[in-house]
C-alpha cells in the first residue's frame, strides 16, 4: 500500500469518525432538537396547585363554549324552535331531524359536551387526588361538581347514548341523568360549606331537572322548592374578546344569517308563517322575532330573526305589537342555564295537573305564565292543563337550551311533540324521525373498548 493510499484510507476513517462524533455531539447537546411550544402545556404538568384556578376556568369555559354552539344552536335546530337557512345539505337534514352517526354534527355535539364533562370530572379527580387542601369545603371542587352534573344532563338531553372516559359501557340517557344526580349530591354539601349558595341553588335546579327526567317526581319537587325566587345562573359571554362570544349572535346577524324562528313559535302560529308583516301578532314578549322575514345563506328559507327571550340576559320585555324594540342577540348576551323559573316549571310538571306548590296550583302557575305572555287566563285541567304547561314552558325557556331535552322527556312519556310532516322548505320533503344525536363514528373508531 502506497503512502497516498494510506492517507486516503485514513481520511475515510477520519471523515467517518468526525461525522459520527459530530452527530453524537450535536445530538447530545442540550436543546439541539428541542423546540419551543409556547402554545401548549404537557398534561403531566397540570397537577400543580398554582394551576387550579385556570383549570376551574377551563371547566366553566368549555361549558360556555359548548352551550351556545353546538348545544343551543344545533339542538334547537332539531326541535320546533328554529328553521335553518344554512345552505349545507347536512345542516338542512339536521333541521329535518335526519342525522347519521358518521355525520359531523353528531361528532360536534358529543365532542363538545364530552369535553365540558371531562374537564369537570378530571378536575374533580385531580382535586380529590391530592390537589385540594380541603376537599370538604373547596369552592373549586363545588364548581367542578356543579358543571359536571349539568354536563351529564346536557349529554343526556342531546345524545341518544353516550360513553364516558373512553369506557366500555354505552350509557342510555337515564344513566346519564343518574350520574348528574350523583355529581349534584356530592357537590351540594361542599358548596354549602364553601358558602356558595349560588352553586347550591344551581345544583338544586339541576337535581330537579335530572329527577324529572328520571321520573322521580317527588325528588324533583323537593329539589325545585329549595330554589329561591329570582334565581338565575348564567352561561356567561363577553363581547370584548372573540373567544368568549355568544356565537348565536353571528348565526343570526352575521353575513348570510342562518337562523329563523320555527313556524311553531312564529307569532300567530303556522298559518302565518311566510307572512311579511306580523307586527300586530307579536304580543308575547317571551318569543319575539323580526316581523318580516328574509332569506339567508341558502337564499331559500324564510327566516324571522329571533329576539332575546326570557332566558337571555338582555331580555327587555318589549314587543313589536306595542311598538317596542325587543332586544337582539348580542355577542355578550348571557344565556340562563338554570333559573327559578325553570325550577318552578320542573316542580309543576312533576306535581301534575292537581299539584300545588310555591306559586299556587298548577293552573294558577300556568295562568301566571300566560299573563307574562299577555295571554288571558284559561280554565284547564288534566292533560289539557299539562299540555298548556308544556307550551308555556316552551315559551318561557325559548331558545335557552331546554327544548330538546323536554321533547325527549315528553316522548318517553308517550307524547311526540317533535316537528313532523312537511318542512317549510317544500323541496326538502318531510321531517325524519330522529330525536337525538347518535354516538358518533369518531367514538367508535377512537375508543378501543367499544364496537358498533
Amino acid at each position: 500500500m502506497t503512502s497516498i493510499q494510506s492517507a486516503r484510507r485514513a481520511a475515510k476513517v477520519a471523515l467517518l469518525g468526525a461525522v459520527a462524533v459530530g452527530v453524537v455531539a450535536c445530538s447530545t447537546v442540550d436543546g439541539i432538537l428541542d423546540v419551543e411550544n409556547p402554545a401548549q402545556i404537557d398534561e403531566s404538568q397540570l397537577n400543580d396547585a398554582a394551576l387550579v384556578q385556570v383549570l376551574v376556568n377551563g371547566v366553566i369555559g368549555d361549558f360556555q363554549d359548548m352551550y351556545s354552539d353546538p348545544f343551543v344552536w344545533r339542538g334547537s335546530m332539531f326541535t320546533d324552535e328554529q328553521v335553518t337557512g344554512i345552505n349545507w345539505e347536512q345542516t338542512a337534514r339536521l333541521n329535518q331531524r335526519i342525522i347519521q352517526y358518521d355525520e359531523g354534527d353528531a361528532d360536534l355535539m358529543f365532542s363538545a359536551i364530552s369535553r365540558a364533562r371531562a374537564q369537570a370530572d378530571t378536575l374533580i379527580g385531580r382535586l380529590l387526588g391530592g390537589l385540594s387542601e380541603s376537599p370538604t369545603d373547596d369552592e373549586s371542587l363545588a364548581i367542578a361538581y356543579a358543571y359536571a352534573g349539568y354536563s351529564y344532563i346536557i349529554l343526556a338531553d342531546a345524545m341518544c347514548e353516550a360513553t364516558v372516559n373512553v369506557g366500555a359501557t354505552i350509557h342510555p340517557p337515564l344513566d346519564l341523568y343518574g350520574f348528574a344526580v350523583d355529581r349534584f349530591n356530592a357537590g351540594r354539601p361542599i358548596a354549602t360549606a364553601a358558602g356558595r349558595t349560588d352553586l347550591v341553588n344551581l345544583m338544586n335546579v339541576g337535581l330537579s331537572r335530572a329527577y324529572l327526567n328520571l321520573g322521580q317526581a317527588s325528588n324533583a319537587m323537593s329539589a325545585a322548592e329549595l330554589v329561591p325566587e329570582g334565581f338565575y345562573y348564567w352561561v356567561e359571554y363577553n363581547e370584548s374578546d372573540n373567544r368568549t362570544y355568544n356565537v348565536l349572535e353571528s348565526r343570526i346577524n352575521g353575513a348570510n344569517h342562518s337562523l329563523g324562528v320555527h313556524p311553531a313559535f312564529v307569532a300567530g302560529g303556522p298559518a302565518d308563517f311566510g307572512t311579511q308583516d306580523l307586527e300586530a301578532e307579536l304580543t308575547d314578549p317571551r318569543v319575539q322575532h323580526e316581523p318580516r322575514w328574509a332569506t339567508g345563506h341558502n337564499a331559500l328559507t324564510p327566516l324571522y330573526k329571533p329576539k332575546s327571550g326570557l332566558m337571555y340576559s338582555n331580555f327587555n320585555g318589549e314587543t313589536f305589537a306595542t311598538g317596542g324594540e325587543p332586544a337582539v342577540y348580542e355577542r355578550g348576551t348571557d344565556i340562563a342555564m338554570s333559573s327559578y323559573l325553570e325550577a318552578m316549571h320542573n316542580y309543576y310538571e312533576a306535581a301534575g295537573p292537581a299539584g300545588t306548590g310555591p306559586l299556587g296550583t298548577t293552573l294558577e302557575f300556568v295562568n301566571a305564565r300566560r299573563a307574562a305572555g299577555n295571554q288571558g287566563a284559561v280554565t284547564l285541567s288534566g292533560d289539557d292543563l299539562m299540555d298548556e304547561l308544556r307550551w308555556q314552558r316552551g315559551k318561557d325557556l325559548f331558545m335557552g337550551g331546554y327544548r330538546l331535552g323536554d321533547l325527549r322527556r315528553w316522548l318517553r312519556a308517550g307524547d311526540d311533540l317533535f316537528p313532523s310532516g312537511q318542512h317549510v322548505n317544500e323541496q326538502w320533503g318531510n321531517y325524519g324521525n330522529a330525536t337525538c344525536f347518535p354516538l358518533p363514528k369518531e367514538e367508535y373508531e377512537g375508543n378501543p373498548n367499544i364496537s358498533r
Binding site: I41, R115, R117, N238
Partner: protein, 1008 residues
C-alpha cells in the same frame, strides 16, 4: 428593517458587486492574443447561440452570438486548449497556438447528445457525480431553454408536463392560484407527500397553504412562485425514496433541486433583457342557467324575465357574459381590456479569471379574470462565485422577491361570483343582482383580501478540495419569508349589511406570518482509485434543518372611515399569535465502488432524528443500495443502433415525519368570561401519541437509459414500486376522553407502482427543418394497502356528497358513486315522481391521473424561425361535478330540469341524491404552450448593437380535448383541471371554479 429597506439594500449590494466585477474585468486586461471562430451544429451547420467557449485554465472565455460567432480576448500566448460547451451537445476541445497580438481562428462543429452520461447531477454528496454512476432515475431539464422558447409566468407552470412522474394538481385559473406537486403519486395518507424543494442547496418552504383563508374561502398560492423562472438554469427531480435516501426523514415524497443561473468565468459581462406582454380570456364555455316560467312567475317581481311571457317559457341566462362586471373584458366592464399579464426581466452574467456573477431584476404582473384578482412579483437575484485557488471556491446566492396577490372569493365561498352565477335561476331577481343566487359581481368584487409576501433566500456554499481526492462542501442557508395578509371590508353604505353585522361597521384583519427555514449541510467525499480498474468514492455528511413559523393576527372592527383603516384606529381590536417549530438532524455515509468507470455499486445509510418524533422514539435509519452499469462501454456490446446503454437498479428508503408537536398530549390556554372579566383557562388540546415516528417509504427502481441512432434518439425508462410502511394514519381522538380531533398512529401501508418513459429525439435533422421532440410518459397506480391495526374500515369524504373513500385495496381518495334503484332492465324505478337512491356505493375510479403524457415539439425552420408546442395529457382519473348535482337537485336551474320535453325519469334521476351521473372521466389533452419565435439575423442584431434578439408570439391553453363533458350546455366546469378546495390533499370537486384561461403573449428577448 422593513421590507422596502431590505429590498433597497439588496439592490445596492447587487449593483455594487456588479460594478466591482466589471472593473476587475478591465483591470485584468493584458497584452495577449485572441481567439475567434464559429460554433455550428455538426449535422445542419446551423449557427449555435449561447455556447460557452473558453480557454481551459486561463479564466478567459466568451459566448457565441446569433451567428454562432465568438471572440475570446486576452488569451495568454502559447499552446492553449479551447473548449466549447452547450447544453444538449457534446463538449468539444481543440488545441491552438496563441501568438501575442494575433487572432487565432478556431471553429467548432458540435454534435447533439441524446444521453449525457458524463453530465454532472446533484446527489446530495460533495463533489461532482456523473450521471453514469447513479443507479436511480434523475430527471433534469434545461429551464433556461424553456424560458427562451416560451414565456413562462411561474415556476409551477415551468414544471407542468416536463418530467415524467411529476404531476401538477391544479386548482383553478385565477391569477396567483397555486397547484400541488406530486412525484409518483401520493405516497402517504396523512403525512406530507409533496416533494421537498432546494434552491442551490438551501431548503426552501414549498407549502403555499399558509393563511389568508386559503383553501376554504380563497385559493392558495404557490410557495414556489416567488422564484423568477428566468433566473433558473436547470431543475433536477429526484422522485422517490430509492433516490432521496440521503435527504432523510422528510424526503419520501421526493426532492426538487432548483439550480439558478451562475456566472461564466472569463466571459466578461453579457446583459440579457426580456419583455413579455399578453392578454387572457375565458375561451371555454361559461355557465348557462335556465328557468321555466310558471303561471305565478309571469306576474311576479321576483322573475322579471318571466313577466309578460307565456307560462312554460324557458328562460336562459349566461351570467358571466351578460353581467358587465362579472369578468374583466366584458362589454361595459370596469376593465374592458380583459385579463392580461406582462413581465420585464433584466440580467447580467459574466465573470473574470477567478470569479463569476449573475444578477437579475424582474417585475411581473397578472390580472385575473375577476376585477378583484391580480398577482404581482418584483424580485431580483445575485449569485456570486469566487475561486481564489484551485482548491477553494465560494458561492453566495441571494434571491429576493416581493409578491402581492389579491385573491377573489373562490368557489368554496357562498358569496363568490362564479358560485352565484352557476346557482342562480335565469333572469330571477334575487336580493342583489338578477340571475345571481346571492351576491352579484358588484358586491362580490368588493372582497379585498391581499397577500403581500417578502421573501429572500440566501445561501453560501464553500467547496474545499485540499487534495484531488478529497472534496469538502459546506452549505449554510436561510429561506426567510414574511407574509402579510390583509382582509378589509369598508363601512357598509347600503344598510343591507351584506358582509354581516361585524364587518358592516368597517373591518380590517392583518395576519403576519414570518417563516424561517435554516439549512446547515456539511458533506465530504474521499475519492480513490484503488487500481486502474476500481475506484472508490466514500462520502459522509451531516444536515441540520430548522423550520420555525409564527403567526400574528390583529383585527379591528368599527372604523371611523375607510381611509382610517389601521387596526389601532378601530373601535374594537384584538390579537392572536401562533408558533410552530421543527428541527431535524441527520447524517449519512455512502460508499460507491466503480469498476472501469462503467459499473458502479453504491450503498448508503442515513440516520435521522426529528423534534416531531414522540418521546418514546428516537432515531430512524434509512438504507439504500444502487447499481449502475454502462453496458455499452463493454467490448462485447456491439449493436449498431445503440450508441450508449446504461442499466440501473436502486432500492432505498426515505422518511416523512409527522407535523411538529403532534406526538405530545397537551393542554392549551384560552379565555372565558366570568362576570365582566375575561380570565385564562386551560383546555385539552392534543391527544398525542408518544410512540409516533416518521413513516418510511421504500422503493425499488429499475430502469435503463440509452441513446440510439447516432444520438438522435434517447430513451430513459424507469419502473418503480414504492411502499410506505408505518404510514401516518389519523385516528379520531375518542371524544369521550375530552379531547377532540385526531391523533396519528403509525400503522398503515400505502403503495405506488408505475413506470416512466422519457423519449428525446430528432426525427428531422436538416438545416431547412429540424424537429426535436420530447415525450414524457408515465403511469401511476396508487393504493391504500391496509389500515394496519388502526380501528378503521374506511374514511369517507367529499364536498356536497361523500363521493370519495380511503379504503384498503383501492386508490386513496378514489371515487365511489351511488345509483338509483333500477328494475331488472336497468331502468330507474319511479315512485310518485321520484326515485330511490341505493345505499350501497360502487367503485368508479381514481381521483388523480394514472397516466400522463407530455409531448414537447420544437421545429426549427432554417436558422431563424422556431415553432414550439407542448401538449399535455392526463387520464385515467375521474372528477366529481358537485355543481351539476347541486344545480339539478337544489337550484333546479339546469337545461334538463327546465326543458318541458325532458324525460321525467331522467329528471327524477338527476333530482335525486345519486352521484353516479356526476362522477365522470376527466381525461384531457391540452395544448399548453405554443410559441413562434423569430431570431433576428445576425446582421440586423449587430446593427442594433445586440448579440442576439428574438421575437416570440406565444399562447397558453389554446386548445383542449376532454372526456369531461356534459350533454347540457353550461352545466359544470368546462375544464376538468379545477378543484373546489385548493388545500385539500385528496378531495377533487368541480364546484364553480375558474377554468384555465387562454393566453396570448408577445415577447422580445435580446442580449448584448
Amino acid at each position: 428593517m422593513g421590507r422596502l429597506h431590505v429590498g433597497t439594500a439588496a439592490c445596492r449590494i447587487a449593483l455594487a458587486a456588479l460594478a466591482l466585477c466589471t472593473t476587475a474585468e478591465l483591470v485584468a486586461a493584458q497584452q495577449a492574443g485572441s481567439v475567434r471562430g464559429q460554433v455550428v451544429d455538426a449535422v445542419t451547420s446551423r449557427p449555435l447561440v449561447g455556447a460557452q467557449v473558453f480557454a481551459v485554465g486561463t479564466g478567459r472565455g466568451g459566448l457565441s452570438n446569433a451567428s454562432g460567432q465568438y471572440l475570446i480576448l486576452n488569451v495568454p500566448v502559447g499552446m492553449q486548449t479551447i473548449r466549447v460547451e452547450l447544453l444538449g451537445y457534446g463538449a468539444m476541445e481543440q488545441q491552438v497556438n496563441i501568438a501575442g497580438g494575433q487572432v487565432a481562428e478556431v471553429d467548432f462543429r458540435l454534435s447533439q447528445q441524446a444521453l449525457r452520461l458524463d453530465a454532472i447531477v446533484v446527489t446530495g454528496t460533495a463533489g461532482e457525480t456523473q450521471r453514469r454512476s447513479i443507479g436511480n432515475s434523475v430527471t433534469s431539464f434545461d429551464a433556461a431553454a424553456v424560458t427562451e422558447a416560451v414565456p413562462v409566468p411561474s415556476l409551477q407552470e415551468m414544471l407542468q408536463g416536463r418530467a415524467p412522474g411529476l404531476t401538477l394538481i391544479s386548482n383553478g385559473g385565477g391569477a396567483g392560484d397555486g397547484s400541488q406537486i406530486r412525484l409518483r403519486g401520493a405516497g402517504s395518507l396523512e403525512g406530507r407527500f409533496e416533494p421537498v424543494v432546494y434552491v442551490d442547496g438551501v431548503r426552501i418552504e414549498s407549502d403555499g397553504a399558509q393563511g389568508g383563508m386559503c383553501g376554504s374561502v380563497t385559493h392558495c398560492t404557490s410557495a414556489l412562485d416567488y422564484l423568477n423562472p428566468n433566473d433558473v438554469e436547470s431543475v433536477e427531480i429526484i422522485k422517490g425514496p430509492a433516490a432521496s435516501t440521503l435527504y432523510g426523514a422528510e424526503a419520501a415524497g421526493g426532492v426538487i433541486q432548483i439550480i439558478t443561473k451562475r456566472g461564466r468565468p472569463g466571459t466578461g459581462v453579457q446583459w440579457s433583457a426580456a419583455i413579455d406582454m399578453g392578454r387572457s380570456d375565458w375561451n371555454l364555455a361559461t355557465p348557462v342557467t335556465y328557468w321555466q316560467c310558471t303561471a305565478s312567475n309571469t306576474t311576479s317581481s321576483s322573475f322579471p324575465g318571466c313577466n309578460g311571457v307565456a307560462p312554460g317559457t324557458v328562460l336562459t341566462y349566461q351570467p358571466m357574459d351578460e353581467n358587465a362586471n362579472a369578468m374583466r373584458g366584458n362589454t361595459g366592464s370596469d376593465d374592458s381590456n380583459g385579463p392580461g399579464q406582462y413581465s420585464a426581466n433584466l440580467s447580467a452574467r459574466g465573470g473574470g479569471e477567478a470569479f463569476s456573477y449573475f444578477v437579475s431584476a424582474e417585475r411581473s404582473e397578472e390580472q385575473g379574470i375577476f376585477l378583484n384578482n391580480f398577482s404581482r412579483r418584483n424580485g431580483g437575484r445575485a449569485n456570486f462565485s469566487f475561486t481564489p485557488t484551485d482548491e477553494l471556491d465560494f458561492t453566495v446566492n441571494f434571491g429576493y422577491a416581493r409578491t402581492h396577490v389579491r385573491a377573489p372569493l373562490s368557489n368554496n365561498s357562498s358569496n363568490s361570483v362564479l358560485r352565484n352565477a352557476y346557482r342562480g335561476r335565469a333572469n330571477a331577481a334575487y336580493q342583489y343582482e338578477v340571475g345571481y343566487r346571492n351576491f352579484g359581481p358588484t358586491l362580490a368584487n368588493e372582497w379585498d383580501l391581499q397577500t403581500r409576501s417578502e421573501r429572500y433566500t440566501v445561501g453560501a456554499t464553500v467547496n474545499y478540495r485540499p487534495f484531488s481526492w478529497l472534496h469538502n462542501r459546506l452549505v449554510m442557508g436561510l429561506d426567510n419569508q414574511n407574509r402579510e395578509i390583509t382582509d378589509f371590508t369598508g363601512i357598509d353604505q347600503t344598510g343591507l349589511r351584506p358582509w354581516g353585522t361585524t364587518r358592516s361597521a368597517g373591518y380590517v384583519d392583518i395576519e403576519i406570518r414570518p417563516l424561517h427555514n435554516w439549512t446547515l449541510d456539511y458533506a465530504s467525499t474521499v475519492s480513490t482509485d484503488v487500481n486502474e480498474n476500481i475506484s472508490s468514492s466514500f462520502s459522509a455528511g451531516v444536515q441540520l434543518l430548522n423550520r420555525n413559523s409564527e403567526r400574528f393576527d390583529v383585527t379591528g372592527e368599527g372604523l371611523v372611515a375607510n381611509t382610517l383603516n389601521l387596526v389601532s384606529s378601530a373601535a374594537v381590536n384584538r390579537g392572536g399569535q401562533g408558533f410552530s417549530e421543527q428541527t431535524s438532524l441527520g447524517f449519512y455515509v455512502q460508499e460507491q465502488v466503480g469498476w472501469k468507470n462503467r459499473l458502479f455499486a453504491t450503498a448508503a445509510v442515513r440516520i435521522d432524528d426529528n423534534s416531531a418524533f414522540g418521546k418514546d422514539f428516537s432515531l430512524v435509519a434509512y438504507p439504500k443500495a444502487q447499481l449502475s452499469y454502462v453496458i455499452s462501454d463493454e467490448e462485447f456490446f456491439d449493436f449498431d443502433v445503440v450508441d450508449q446503454l446504461k442499466l440501473r437498479a436502486a432500492w432505498g428508503q426515505a422518511g416523512n415525519p409527522p407535523d411538529p408537536f403532534v406526538a405530545d398530549r397537551t393542554y392549551t390556554a384560552g379565555a372565558t368570561s366570568t362576570g365582566d372579566a375575561i380570565v385564562n383557562l386551560l383546555r385539552p388540546s392534543s391527544y398525542g401519541n408518544p410512540d409516533l415516528k416518521a413513516e418510511t417509504g421504500s422503493e425499488l427502481e429499475l430502469g435503463f437509459e440509452s441513446s440510439l441512432l447516432g444520438d438522435r434518439l434517447g430513451i430513459d425508462f424507469t419502473y418503480y414500486n414504492q411502499k410506505t410502511r408505518d404510514a401516518l394514519i389519523a385516528v379520531p381522538d375518542p371524544p369521550s376522553s375530552g379531547y377532540s380531533g385526531e391523533h396519528f398512529v403509525n400503522v398503515g401501508e400505502v403503495s405506488s407502482v408505475g413506470f416512466e418513459l422519457l423519449l428525446t429525439g430528432t426525427p428531422l435533422y436538416t438545416r431547412a427543418l429540424q424537429w426535436d421532440a420530447i415525450v414524457a410518459f408515465s403511469t401511476n397506480k396508487g393504493e391504500l394497502v391496509s389500515w394496519g391495526s388502526a380501528p378503521l374500515t374506511e374514511i369517507e369524504f367529499g364536498s356536497f356528497a361523500t363521493v370519495q373513500r380511503h379504503i384498503p385495496g383501492y386508490p386513496m381518495g378514489g371515487f365511489w358513486s351511488t345509483d338509483v334503484v333500477r328494475d331488472a332492465s336497468g331502468a330507474p324505478i319511479l315512485d310518485g315522481g321520484s326515485v330511490t337512491v341505493e345505499t350501497e356505493k360502487e367503485y368508479v375510479g381514481p381521483s388523480n391521473p394514472t397516466r400522463e403524457i407530455g409531448l414537447t415539439n420544437t421545429f426549427t425552420v432554417f436558422d431563424n424561425f422556431r415553432v414550439f408546442a407542448n401538449l399535455d395529457y392526463k387520464g385515467g382519473h375521474y372528477q366529481w361535478c358537485a355543481i351539476c348535482s347541486v344545480r339539478s337537485r337544489i337550484d333546479r336551474n339546469t337545461q334538463l330540469v327546465n326543458d318541458p320535453s325532458s324525460d321525467p325519469v331522467e329528471v327524477a334521476v338527476v333530482s335525486s341524491l345519486q352521484t353516479k351521473t356526476w362522477i365522470k372521466p376527466a381525461d384531457f389533452i391540452k395544448l399548453r404552450e405554443v410559441s413562434v419565435s423569430y431570431r433576428l439575423p445576425a446582421s440586423l442584431s449587430e446593427s442594433m448593437r445586440v448579440d442576439d434578439a428574438t421575437l416570440t408570439l406565444a399562447g397558453r391553453n389554446l386548445w383542449m380535448w376532454t372526456r369531461y363533458e356534459f350533454d347540457q350546455e353550461g352545466l359544470g366546469s368546462p375544464d376538468p383541471e379545477v378543484n373546489f378546495d385548493s388545500a385539500s390533499r385528496f378531495g377533487r370537486t368541480d364546484y364553480a371554479s375558474i377554468p384555465m384561461l387562454r393566453t396570448f403573449a408577445l415577447g422580445l428577448r435580446f442580449s448584448f
